[in-house]
Structure formats: structure tokens, C-alpha cells
């Protein structure tokens, strides 16, 4: 039982080309920056966006196939969709919002009301049945939207930035509830988010996309330990370089040669944790094989650490203590030497 989709389409500046294969034993998060095409892909799966070529099938049933022209309209797909700002019908009360999908699918008024009340009870909003969406808080709206999407027992649950509309204080609570509901849902679950924290918290597997294309997929641990794009590297907060490896060195195109400990060859990623990068006033003597000169371009306090961005042959971020910054007399624009050991460079095939 699974969702399989392959979608290629062009929409304005977006050139989307993605494949998805999702089983029901996992919660999958589509992660990527704004404009990556995550929402468009989700909408295409729901049948709300036409695509040039590709297909969508659910549990072996073809919902859409550009080659044969088959198209099952959105309203006849067994989906539940939680939209970004929930889109609760403003003219209907909470109960009627939750019952809407049940009534649309032909359930009698009495049965639909009964089931909607059960769902409101499950999300803890039974006493708000008669309220209009405008009277609810953001977190409550999110729960109504979830109940509305789940009430008709969909096979596929699609969530578009389910927490983005919430303020930081309620987000953690709502995220915990959402995780619980996702866990108890029997079906395929796909969450779109641009927030890595949310993705890691909710999903068993991440699909990272950028500019309409797949960048990386894997468990949150796999993705964060071996980033394969600048986007993920920035999210995780590590330095990521890409170059040609040749037994103990990686040549960065248009940049330096990085000494490494491995024996890889070919196109590779070289990951350097900012904590592994040491800063010096003058050219350091000693064991580190990589010694570059540069200028501190940005100094930022992060908790009890200071992240210093250094414009060397390639820009690199170092993480040091505030006292080190003081001792080194570091100022933005000031000259500085950096070093890191070859053994601190993680190398893996690109």
C-alpha cells in the first residue's frame, strides 16, 4: 500500500521534476526552501495542479497519468489535505467544517454530525462545536483543520506547512499533538515544511528538494550527518564543500586543495564542522594540514559560542568561544588565520 508519484511540470520560474514513493509505515517530510516546489508537488498529488508528464497512483490505483490522459478529480481522490492557513470555511461553525467532508461523501446529516463530534472530541475541541473559525486561536484552528481532513478516513494525508501559521509559543504544543495524530493515522502521510526542526520532529524520512529537484532523501540522522546540499548544510550549520578527491586531498574548483585523511577519489563532498576550525592571530605552526588566511566577515553570538564567518579562498564558518574572540582581538574585516585537521574533514561521494 503506497503512494507513487512522478511529476514534471513548469510553472513560472519553477521547473519541477520529482519522484515520490511513500509507504504507510513512515511519516515523510518534504523539506526545502521557499520556492522549491514543495507545495506545488503536494497540490499535484492532490490533483489541484495539472502536470506535463508523470503519474500519480495510490495503493496501485492510477489517479492521474499524463500519458493516458487519466485524471481522477480531486474530489474523488481518497485524500485529506491540511492547507497552509487551514482554510476553515468562515461561514460554517466548527462542527459543520469537520462534517463537511463526510457530508460531501454522501453521509447522512445525523451520522456526519455524530462522527464530527467524535473527531472534535479527539482533538479536544468538543466544546467549540458551535464556534465560528474566527473565534478560535491559531492552534485550535490547526486542530479543527486536522480533524476536518481526517474525519472522512482518507488513505493519504497531505499537510502543507501545518505549523507555519502558528506563533512560536503554541507551535511546540501543537507539534506534539500533530505527531500523535500522525502516528495513529492508518495511511500514507506526507508533510511539507521549510522548517528543519519540524521535519526532524515529525518525520521518519526526509525528502529534501531544491529548485524543483530532489537533493537528498533519508532518515533525519542520515540527512543531517551527510548533507548533500548547501541548503541542508546551512540548516545543520556545517561547512560543506564539493570537489574532486584524489587520495588524501580534495580539490575545490576555483579554490584551495583540502587535505583529507581518506583515500576516496572522484566527485565528493567534504564536510567540516565549524567546531573543528581553529582561528589564529598569525600563521600557525603544527600538525593541522589545512591552514588558510582570510578575513572575518561576520561575527555572531550563538548561545555560548561565537560563529565567525571567514572569507578565505572559500568561505568557511568557525565556531569558537567568546573568550577566544577576545584573545584574538577579532573584529569584522580583520585578518585571521584558520586551520583544521585533515582527520576532521568528512568525505563522502557526491
Amino acid at each position: 500500500m503506497s503512494l507513487e508519484a512522478s511529476v514534471r511540470l513548469t510553472q513560472g520560474p519553477l521547473d519541477l521534476d520529482m519522484e515520490l514513493a511513500i509507504g504507510e509505515d513512515e511519516v515523510v517530510a518534504l523539506l526545502g526552501p521557499n520556492g522549491a516546489g514543495k507545495t506545488t508537488l503536494l497540490r499535484a498529488v492532490a490533483g489541484l495542479v495539472p502536470f506535463n508528464s508523470g503519474h500519480v497512483s495510490l495503493d496501485g490505483h492510477v489517479l492521474e497519468d499524463a500519458a493516458t490522459g487519466r485524471y481522477v478529480p480531486t474530489e474523488r481522490r481518497p485524500i485529506g489535505f491540511v492547507f497552509q492557513d487551514y482554510l476553515l470555511f468562515p461561514h460554517l461553525n466548527v462542527l459543520d467544517n469537520v462534517a463537511f467532508g463526510l457530508r460531501s461523501r454522501g453521509m447522512s446529516r445525523g451520522a456526519a454530525t455524530e462522527k464530527a463530534v467524535q473527531w472534535l472530541d479527539r482533538v479536544g475541541l468538543k466544546s467549540y462545536a458551535g464556534a465560528k473559525p474566527a473565534e478560535l486561536s491559531g492552534g485550535q484552528r490547526q486542530r479543527v483543520a486536522l480533524a476536518r481532513a481526517l474525519a472522512p478516513d482518507p488513505r493519504l494525508l497531505l499537510l502543507d506547512e501545518p505549523l507555519a501559521a502558528l506563533d512560536v509559543t503554541t507551535r511546540a504544543d501543537v507539534r506534539r499533538d500533530l505527531k500523535r495524530h500522525l502516528a495513529s493515522f492508518q495511511g500514507i502521510r506526507l508533510v511539507v515544511t521549510h522548517d528543519p526542526l519540524e521535519a526532524v520532529a515529525l518525520a521518519d524520512r526526509l525528502i529534501v528538494m531544491e529548485k524543483g529537484h530532489l537533493v537528498q532523501t533519508g532518515t533525519p540522522a542520515e540527512v543531517t550527518e551527510r548533507p548533500r546540499s548547501q541548503y541542508v548544510a546551512d540548516l545543520v550549520g556545517v561547512n560543506l564543500l564539493r570537489g574532486e578527491a584524489d587520495h588524501g586531498s580534495v580539490r575545490i574548483p576555483g579554490g584551495p586543495v583540502v587535505a583529507t585523511a581518506g583515500a576516496e577519489s572522484g566527485e565528493v563532498f567534504a564536510m567540516i564542522h565549524p567546531r573543528a576550525v581553529a582561528l589564529h592571530h598569525t600563521r600557525p605552526e603544527g600538525s593541522p594540514r589545512n591552514v588558510w588566511r582570510g578575513r572575518a566577515s561576520n561575527i555572531e553570538l550563538m548561545g555560548n559560542r561565537v560563529r565567525v564567518r571567514i572569507d578565505a579562498e572559500v568561505p568557511l564558518v568557525a565556531e569558537v568561544t567568546p573568550s577566544a574572540v577576545k584573545e584574538l582581538d577579532l573584529v569584522e574585516g580583520g585578518e585571521v588565520w584558520l586551520s583544521f585537521k585533515a582527520t576532521d574533514v568528512g568525505v563522502y561521494p557526491a
Binding site: 474530489e75 474523488r76 482554510l87 460531501s104
Partner: protein
């Protein structure tokens, strides 16, 4: 909260503008022969004309809703060549002299008209100079107000609610009746009120296409005009009645008419 003071350059033309409307109405009130009011109002012709006016203008609004809302939907949602031209044609009566509209209706639906002769010979239906003709003339002139208002409402609504409804399994009809129509209710309401108001005051197209037969086609505006030629002062009273009805409706509906905004 402090009230914002109206700048003098705005206040003066605004006051003149308001006076421009109010002074003629005051004139009507001042010059009306109040001692004859009861007699003029209870005259059978007046009652008949008033009844006909209400029936015809409400019918025109109903026809406008039944035909105009789908047309507005087509304008707002469908893409087809010639859409802008079609929209211009169907809103032409807003700028056309109503008499011209009446003549056009005669040429189309008159006994010898394009469709009229066929309707007459096939079904024995004659439209001109009947109450149905009054409704047609009023609809012709008033429906464009409804179409444009509803189209604007459809264009400005957040269509993602319709997608949300579809994702919940709603058929297109259910989406339209349960989501689209309720969401554009303010526009729908404003359009219907505008349409009704225009129909109630309709004169030129009605007298041209439907004539001026008491009890059949003589609406209040026509009655006012007729009485004006014989008994000027009585016409003032009739005018005032028309004015009061309109005023009551417009004031009563004002906050809804202006939408939920």
C-alpha cells in the same frame, strides 16, 4: 478615540454634492399637497401601480439572479475568446438610453421581431405590452448591475476555499452552493439590491416595450409621469411614495449592502 477632522477642501465639495441630492427631495416634500395625500395614495390606480411595480421589480431581480449569477461565474472563471466583448455587450444597457433598450427589445421580441414572430406563431406567446414585458424590460436594464457586482465578488474571493472543499470530496455543485455562494454573499446581496433598485425606477425601456396600461404595465414611474400631465400635485405624492420605499430599503440594508467589510 478622536474623530478625524474633515479637511475643508474635501468638506466644501462634499457638502455641495450632498445638497445637490437633498434639495430636490426637500422640494418634493415641501411642495406636496399633504391634504390630498390620503386620497392620492388610496386611489385604485396608485395601489395597482405600486403593486405592479413591486411584483415586476422583484421578478426582474429573481430573473437577474437566476441568469445573472451563472453569467457572472462564466465571466469570472471561464477563459474563452470574445469574453470581454460579450461582457461589454451584456453590460451595454447600463450606458444605453433605456428607450433604445426598449426599441431593441421590440425588434427582438415584438410581434414582428426576430424571436417574437416565432414565439407568436409557434406558441402564441406575445411579450410586448404585457406584465411579462415589463419584467423583461426591467431585467434588461437592471441585470447588468447584478452581473458586474457578482463578477467582482467572484474575482476577489479566495479560491483556495473552493480547493479545500474539493479536497474534502465536494462535487462542483456542492462547492458552488456550499462554499462559493456563501463566501460571495455580500456581493450577491449588493448586486441583487442594486438590480432591484434599478428595476423599480425603470421607465424608458418599460414604456417603449410594454406600454402604459393601468393594471398591466403601468408601474409607479409610469404612473407618476402620466399623473404629472394631468394633476401635477398628485404626482408629487406618488413620487414621494416611490422615494420612501427606496429609502427604507436602502437604509435598512445599508450595512449589509456595503458588505461585511
Amino acid at each position: 478615540m478622536r474623530r478625524e477632522r474633515v479637511p475643508i477642501v474635501v468638506l466644501i465639495p462634499a457638502a455641495i454634492g450632498a445638497a445637490f441630492f437633498i434639495v430636490p427631495l426637500v422640494g418634493l416634500i415641501v411642495r406636496s399637497p399633504w391634504h390630498d395625500a390620503v386620497a392620492a395614495l388610496t386611489a385604485p390606480e396608485t395601489v395597482e401601480a405600486l403593486k405592479l411595480s413591486l411584483v415586476a421589480s422583484l421578478s426582474a431581480t429573481a430573473v437577474g439572479l437566476i441568469l445573472g449569477v451563472p453569467l457572472a461565474w462564466v465571466y469570472a472563471r471561464a477563459e474563452f475568446p470574445g469574453r470581454d466583448l460579450l461582457r461589454a455587450l451584456t453590460t451595454l444597457p447600463m450606458v444605453l438610453p433605456p428607450v433604445v433598450g426598449g426599441i431593441a427589445l421590440l425588434l427582438a421580441f415584438g410581434r414582428r421581431g426576430l424571436l417574437g414572430s416565432w414565439l407568436d406563431s409557434t406558441f402564441g406567446i406575445t411579450l410586448p405590452f404585457t406584465t411579462a414585458g415589463v419584467v423583461m424590460a426591467e431585467t434588461f436594464v437592471a441585470m447588468p448591475f447584478l452581473i458586474l457586482t457578482v463578477e467582482a465578488g467572484l474575482r476577489s474571493m479566495d479560491r483556495r476555499y473552493e480547493e479545500a472543499a474539493r479536497a474534502l470530496g465536494a462535487s462542483r455543485w456542492r462547492v458552488f452552493t456550499r462554499v462559493t455562494l456563501p463566501l460571495i454573499a455580500p456581493s450577491l446581496f449588493a448586486g441583487a439590491v442594486l438590480c432591484w433598485a434599478r428595476a423599480l425606477g425603470e421607465f424608458g425601456a418599460t414604456i417603449t416595450f410594454a406600454g402604459n396600461f393601468p393594471g398591466v404595465t403601468q408601474t409607479m414611474p409610469l404612473a407618476v409621469y402620466l399623473v404629472l400631465e394631468t394633476n401635477q400635485e398628485a404626482s408629487f405624492i406618488l413620487s414621494l411614495v416611490l422615494l420612501l420605499i427606496s429609502l427604507v430599503v436602502l437604509v435598512g440594508l445599508r450595512h449589509r449592502w456595503l458588505g461585511s467589510a
